[in-house]
C-alpha cells in the first residue's frame, strides 16, 4: 500500500490504483504508487484533502487522467467525489435549481427542468466529449480544471450561477465567474472543493444560448465559445443581457460593452453589429495549434452575435412564462 511515508487513508472504501506521472512519448511512468479514495460525505472529502499533502480530487477525471498521461506529476491520492450523493444530485427548490458539482452532464442534459430553463447551458453541457465522456464529465470538473476553452463556464456565468464551496473552514458561496482565475488556476483555497451550483429560475422572456467553433463536428476543443442570455420586454426590447466568451482569453470574458449595446434595443441590426464588434474587441486570444489571434477575434464576434440572436429567439418563444 502506497509509497513509504504516506499515511494510510483515514476513511473510505479505498482500493489500490496504479497510474503514473512523468511521461515521455505518451507513456505513463510509474515512479510511485498512487492511491484511490472514495469518500461518501463532503466532510470526509475535506478531511482527506487536509490530511494528505498531495491529494487531488476529481469528478469524472476526464481531464485529470489525460493530464497525468501527458506528464503532469501524479498526486499521492486520487479522491473520487462521485460517491458523495450531494455532489451528484439535481434538485429544484422554489425558484432555485441546485446541481451537484460532479453530476454527469448526461444527467444534466436529460433533466427536463434544466433543459427548459437553461437551454444554452444544457447545450454547452452536451458538447463535452463523446457519449462515453458525457457519463463522467461535470460542471464542477469543467470549471475547476480552469481550461480557458471549457464549454460550460461561459454559460454558467451568463446565467449567474453560484458555486457552493466546502473547505476546512466550512462552506461559502461565490459567483461561478470567480472560480477560475487563469489557465489551470482557481480561487479555491487548499483543501476546498466545489460542492454544487445554484441557479435561479430565469425571469419571463429570458433565454440563453451557447455556440462554439470547432473544426470538426464533435470530439474537439473549442477554438472559440460564446454564451449569451437575454431578457426581453413585451415589445421585444432587451432589458437585460449577458455575454461571455471562452477560449479567447486566460479566463472567460464578459463583454459589458456588448451587453450595454443591447439594452433598450431590439436584438437586431445595429445592436447586433455592436455586439459583434464589442465581442471581438474584448478578446485577448493567443496563437496556438488550434487557432490564431486574428481568427479567434473575428469568430468571437460572429459567435457572440449569433448566440444573442438564438437566445433572443428563444426568449420571444418563451413569452411571459418564467
Amino acid at each position: 500500500m502506497g509509497t513509504s511515508g504516506s499515511k494510510p487513508l483515514a476513511a473510505g472504501p479505498g482500493v489500490e490504483l496504479t497510474a503514473g506521472g512523468v511521461s515521455a512519448m505518451g507513456y505513463d511512468l510509474m515512479l510511485s504508487v498512487m492511491r484511490y479514495a472514495s469518500p461518501t460525505t463532503v466532510a470526509e472529502a475535506v478531511d482527506l484533502l487536509g490530511s494528505e499533502a498531495d491529494a487531488r480530487v476529481y469528478a469524472g477525471a476526464t481531464d485529470l487522467i489525460p493530464q497525468i498521461r501527458a506528464g503532469r506529476p501524479e498526486p499521492t491520492v486520487m479522491v473520487d467525489l462521485k460517491r458523495i450523493e450531494r455532489l451528484c444530485a439535481i434538485s429544484a427548490n422554489g425558484s432555485t435549481y441546485t446541481v451537484g458539482a460532479a453530476t454527469p452532464t448526461a444527467d444534466i442534459c436529460a433533466d427536463p427542468g434544466l433543459v427548459a430553463a437553461f437551454p444554452g447551458l444544457v447545450e454547452a453541457s452536451g458538447l463535452i466529449g463523446s457519449d462515453q465522456i458525457q457519463s463522467r464529465s461535470s460542471w464542477g470538473g469543467n470549471l475547476a480544471n480552469a481550461s480557458p476553452a471549457a464549454d460550460t463556464p461561459p454559460s454558467l456565468i451568463v446565467n449567474e450561477a453560484r458555486a457552493v464551496i466546502a473547505g476546512p473552514g466550512g462552506e461559502r458561496t461565490v459567483a461561478a465567474a470567480e472560480v477560475a482565475t487563469g489557465p489551470g488556476q482557481t480561487s479555491l483555497a487548499p483543501g476546498e472543493i466545489l460542492v454544487e451550483f445554484e441557479l435561479d429560475q430565469p425571469p419571463a422572456r429570458t433565454a440563453d444560448a451557447y455556440l462554439r467553433l470547432i473544426p470538426r463536428t464533435e470530439m474537439d476543443i473549442a477554438v472559440v465559445g460564446a454564451a449569451a442570455r437575454v431578457t426581453l420586454d413585451a415589445d421585444g426590447n432587451v432589458t437585460a443581457a449577458a455575454i461571455a466568451l471562452g477560449a479567447v482569453a486566460p479566463t472567460v470574458v464578459r463583454v459589458p460593452e456588448a451587453e450595454a449595446a443591447l439594452i433598450g434595443n431590439q436584438p437586431s441590426g445595429d445592436a447586433l453589429a455592436a455586439v459583434e464588434a464589442a465581442a471581438a474587441a474584448a478578446t485577448t486570444p493567443i496563437d496556438d495549434k488550434r487557432g490564431t489571434v486574428a481568427y479567434r477575434r473575428q469568430v468571437a464576434g460572429v459567435l457572440a452575435r449569433r448566440a444573442v440572436t438564438i437566445a433572443a429567439e428563444r426568449a420571444r418563444e418563451r413569452g411571459g412564462q418564467s
Binding site: A24, G26, P215, R216, K289, T292
Partner: protein, 753 residues
C-alpha cells in the same frame, strides 16, 4: 452499380457474403498484435530522441541496466554496422539510430524489463549526450544554399550534371515528351499555379506492436501486424545481419495500415532484446510514438503550368514537384512525376521532381503515395481552365482523358481502362445536377493510381468433408479473405462458406510480397485461381479413376465432375464425393499457385463533392458525396464500396484539417487524435459509391486493385467545391476554417489567383 462491359455471369463472384473474419472482429475477439501475450514475456520500451537533429556523443546504459526488473538494454551498437550504399541503409538507421538522430522521436536505444512501468523507468534512465545540430524543417530550409546537410553521403541521384557535393536532395526525376515550347506556343490559354501541402499520417487505429521470441537454437518467432509478414522477416533479418530463414513471422489481425505498415519499426528491437534477455519481448507503441516516429505521407511544394487550346484540347504541361520524404531518401517525387499528367493526353510535357530530406520522421507509403497531391494541383487547375473556357468540367475531362492505347507518361500504352466510364457515371448521377443551397458548392475531381502486381502464393487444401482451406500470404487488410474465398468458390464450385480463407505465416505458405499497390485481390487472387485450377485438374483425374474413364472425358461443371464421353450415363461426382474416396484415388488433395503477377490494371476514380461553407467562420461541412471508381470486376462489392468510402473519408480529412504541426525546434505539437484531426463519423455524409466495372484483361476475373485510387480525388474535389461555394481558390493544405476564412476575407485564393 454501373456495368459497362458484358461479363460472364458468376455464381459467387460479385455477391456479398458476410466476411469470414467478420464475427470475430465485430465482437472484439479477433487478436490484433497488442492482444498477444507469451508466458514469461518482458516488455520493451524504446528510448527516443527529443531533438530533431543531433549527433549522439554517448549513450550510457549502466544506470538503466541496474534498475529493478531490467533484463536487457540495447543500442545501435548491438546491431551490425551499416554503411551508406547498403541496400536498406535508410531502414536500418531509421529503426535504430547510430551516430546521429534525424528527427524528434528517432529510436536510439531500447529496454526490456519485467513490467512496462519498469521498462519505461529504465528507458528514462538511459543517459544520452547529444550535440544538437540545426534542424531542417521545411523544403525551403532544405534547399537553402547554406542548409545543414543531413546526410554527408547524399549525392543527388539523377542529377545532370552529376552532383559533386552532398545536399539534401536525394533524387531528381525527369520525364518529358513532345516539344514543350512548341506545345505552349500552340496554347490559347496558359495558367501556372503553385501549391503547398503538409505531411499527414495514415491514422490507422491500431498502433504498431509485436512480440518476439528467440529460441535456444537462435530460431526466432515474431508475432505482429503488418501489411506483409515476409517483408517483416526480410527487413528484420537484414537489420540483424541474419539469414531470413532464422525468423518466422506469424501475422496477427491488422487494425489498419493504409501503406504505413509496409515497413518495420519495432520488430528488430524486440528480437534483439529477446535474444539478449533470453525471454519473449512484447513492444507496443503509444499513439504519441506512432505520430512522432512512423509513417507520415510527404509534404510538398508543387508548381504546374498547363497550356490548352480554345477548343479545350490540352497541349502542354510543365511540372516542378518537390516532395519531402522526411529524414531519408524516398519515392515521393518519383511517384508524383509518374502520376501528375498520367490521366490526360498531354502531347508536350516536362516533369522535374525533387525528393528532399528534412528533419522529420521517415515517410511511409500512404494509399496511392504522392498521387493525391499531384491530383490536388492538376484537378483544381483543370477546373479553372474549364471555367475559363466555358466547358463543363466533366466534358472537359472526357475530351482529354486517356483511353486504351494512349501512351502513359513513361511511354507504355494503356490497356483497357475505365476512366471515361467513371466520368460518365458521375455526369449521369443525380448528385451532379442536384440543386445546391445557399453557401454550398460542388466540386468534381478525378484520380488515378497505377496499381502493381508482384509475387503471391496460395495453397488450396481440400478437407475430408469436401470443404476447402485456402491459405495465402497476404494479410487481410480490407476484406481480402472474403475475396479469396469468393474466387475459390467460383473456381471449385464449393459454397463460399465452405471455404476457410486463412492467412498463412512465413513457414506455412509460399513467398508473398507486401500488400502495396492494391495488389492483394488482384495478384494473390490470381495465385488462388491458379491453385484452384490445378486442383480442378486433379479432381477431374480422381473422378476419372472413380468412374473408370479417361480424364479427357471429364469436365468440371458447377462444382461437379461430369462425364462427357459416349460410354453411357455416369452420375456426376461432387467435391465431397471425390474427397471421401481420396485415400483410394491417390491421397490428400492439395494444390498450390505461386506467381509473379503482371498486368495490374490502372485504377481511375471520379468524385463529386457538395459542401457548405460558413462564410463567417470558414467552417466546411461536406453535405453530399458521390464517388465512382473502376474496380474492373468487384469480387465482393461491399468491400469495394468500403474501400471507396474509406478513401473518401481519409481524403476529406487530408483536405480539411489533417497536418503535422511542429514547433520551431521540430518537436511535434499535435501527436494525438484530439489535435491531429481525422474526420469523425458525424463529419461525413453517407458516401455514395458507384462501382464501375471495366474488366482488367490481365486478371481471370477482371480485377483491378481498388484500395488506393479512392483517396486521390477528394482533396481537389473538396477544393473545387470550396471554390464553388466561396469563389476562393485555396492552394495550401489543409483547407482549415482559418485558411478558408482568411481566403474569404481577402476575397481571393491563398495564392492570389
Amino acid at each position: 452499380m454501373t456495368v459497362t462491359e458484358p461479363k460472364p455471369s458468376y455464381k459467387y463472384v460479385g455477391t456479398r457474403p458476410v466476411r469470414h473474419d467478420g464475427l470475430e472482429k465485430v465482437t472484439g475477439r479477433a487478436r490484433f498484435a497488442a492482444d498477444l501475450n507469451m508466458s514469461g514475456q518482458l516488455h520493451g520500451i524504446v528510448v527516443r530522441s527529443p531533438h530533431a537533429h543531433a549527433r549522439i556523443v554517448s549513450i550510457d546504459t549502466s544506470e538503466a541496466e541496474a534498475m529493478p526488473g531490467v533484463k536487457a538494454v540495447i543500442t545501435g551498437d548491438d546491431f551490425p554496422a551499416v554503411e551508406p550504399g547498403h541496400r536498406q541503409y535508410d531502414m536500418c538507421i531509421n529503426v535504430i539510430a547510430r551516430d546521429k538522430v534525424f528527427y524528434e522521436g528517432h529510436a536510439l536505444a531500447a529496454v526490456a524489463a519485467s513490467t512496462r512501468d519498469q521498462a519505461q523507468a529504465a528507458a528514462a534512465a538511459v543517459k544520452v549526450e547529444y550535440e544538437v545540430l540545426p534542424a531542417v524543417l521545411t523544403i525551403d530550409q532544405a534547399l537553402a544554399a547554406d542548409a545543414p546537410v543531413l546526410h554527408a553521403h547524399m549525392m543527388t541521384a539523377g542529377a545532370n550534371p552529376p552532383a559533386e557535393e552532398p545536399s539534401n536532395i536525394s533524387n531528381i526525376t525527369r520525364f518529358s515528351g513532345g516539344e514543350l515550347d512548341a506545345g505552349f506556343a500552340e496554347a490559347d490559354l496558359v495558367i501556372e499555379r503553385e501549391f503547398t501541402t503538409q505531411p499527414v499520417h495514415q491514422g490507422y487505429i491500431e498502433p504498431h506492436a509485436c512480440v518476439a521470441d528467440t529460441g535456444q537454437d537462435g530460431h526466432t518467432t515474431i508475432w505482429c501486424s503488418s501489411q506483409g509478414h515476409f517483408n517483416v522477416r526480410s527487413s528484420t533479418a537484414t537489420l540483424l545481419g541474419w539469414e531470413n530463414t532464422r525468423i518466422r513471422v506469424i501475422p496477427a489481425e491488422i487494425g489498419g495500415g493504409f501503406g504505413g505498415k509496409t515497413t518495420i519499426y519495432l520488430e528488430p528491437l524486440a528480437v534483439a532484446l529477446s535474444a539478449k534477455a533470453g525471454r519473449p519481448v512484447k513492444m507496443v507503441m503509444t499513439r504519441d510514438e506512432v505520430f512522432r516516429a512512423t509513417g507520415p505521407a510527404p509534404g510538398t511544394k508543387l508548381r504546374i503550368k498547363l497550356g490548352v487550346k480554345r477548343d479545350g484540347t490540352l497541349v502542354a504541361g510543365d511540372a516542378y514537384l518537390i516532395y519531402t520524404n522526411g529524414a531519408y531518401a524516398g519515392p515521393g517525387g518519383l511517384l508524383g512525376a509518374m502520376t501528375v499528367f498520367e490521366s490526360y493526353k498531354i502531347p508536350n510535357f516536362e516533369i522535374e521532381a525533387l525528393d528532399v530530406v528534412i528533419n522529420t520522421a521517415r515517410s511511409a507509403a500512404y494509399r496511392a503515395p504522392a498521387a493525391p497531391l499531384t491530383a490536388y494541383a492538376m484537378e483544381t487547375m483543370l477546373d479553372e481552365i474549364a471555367e475559363e473556357l466555358g466547358i463543363d468540367p466533366i466534358d472537359f475531362r472526357i475530351q482529354n482523358a486517356v483511353t486504351e492505347g494512349d501512351p502513359s507518361t513513361m511511354g507504355f500504352p494503356f490497356a483497357r481502362i475505365g476512366f471515361v466510364e467513371c466520368l460518365e457515371a458521375v455526369r449521369d448521377h443525380p448528385n451532379y445536377k442536384a440543386p445546391l443551397g445557399p453557401n454550398q458548392g460542388r466540386g468534381i475531381a478525378a484520380g488515378y493510381w497505377f496499381n502493381i502486381g508482384e509475387s503471391s502464393s496460395a495453397t488450396v487444401n481440400l478437407n475430408e468433408d469436401g470443404t476447402a482451406t485456402v491459405v495465402t500470404g497476404s494479410p487481410d487488410i480490407g476484406g481480402s479473405r472474403a475475396s479469396m474465398a469468393l474466387m475459390a468458390a467460383e473456381e471449385l464450385g464449393i459454397d463460399v462458406y465452405d471455404i476457410r480463407p486463412v492467412v498463412g505465416d512465413t513457414e506455412a505458405v509460399g513467398f508473398t510480397d507486401v500488400t502495396e499497390g492494391s495488389r492483394a485481390t488482384f495478384a494473390t487472387g490470381m495465385a488462388v485461381v491458379e491453385a484452384c485450377r490445378r486442383m480442378v485438374v486433379e479432381l477431374r483425374g480422381r473422378a476419372a479413376k472413380m468412374m473408370g474413364v479417361e480424364v479427357d472425358d471429364i469436365d468440371w461443371v458447377d462444382g461437379q465432375a461430369v462425364y462427357t464421353g459416349s460410354d453411357g450415363d455416369k452420375a456426376p461426382l461432387s467435391v465431397a464425393e471425390i474427397t471421401a474416396k481420396a485415400k483410394r484415388t491417390g491421397g490428400p488433395l492439395t494444390a498450390t499457385g505461386s506467381l509473379e503477377a503482371h498486368g495490374a490494371g490502372p485504377g481511375f476514380a471520379v468524385h463529386v463533392c457538395d459542401l457548405e461553407v460558413d462564410p463567417e467562420t470558414g467552417v466546411v461541412r461536406v453535405v453530399r458525396y458521390t464517388a465512382s471508381q473502376d474496380a474492373g470486376t468487384a469480387i465482393h462489392p461491399s468491400y469495394v464500396e468500403g474501400q471507396i468510402q474509406g478513401g473518401v473519408a481519409q481524403g476529406v480529412g487530408w483536405a480539411l484539417n489533417e497536418e503535422y504541426i511542429y514547433d520551431s525546434d521540430g518537436v511535434m505539437e499535435n501527436p494525438s487524435f484530439l489535435d491531429y484531426r481525422v474526420p469523425v463519423a458525424s463529419d461525413l455524409p453517407m458516401i455514395d459509391a458507384i462501382i464501375v466495372e471495366v474488366p482488367n484483361p490481365a486478371h481471370p476475373y477482371g480485377v483491378r486493385g481498388v484500395g488506393e485510387t479512392g483517396i486521390v480525388p477528394p482533396i481537389p474535389a473538396v477544393a473545387n467545391a470550396i471554390y464553388g461555394a466561396t469563389g476562393c481558390r485555396i492552394r495550401d493544405l489543409p483547407m482549415s476554417p482559418i485558411r478558408v476564412l482568411d481566403a474569404i476575407t481577402s476575397n481571393g485564393g491563398s495564392n492570389g489567383a
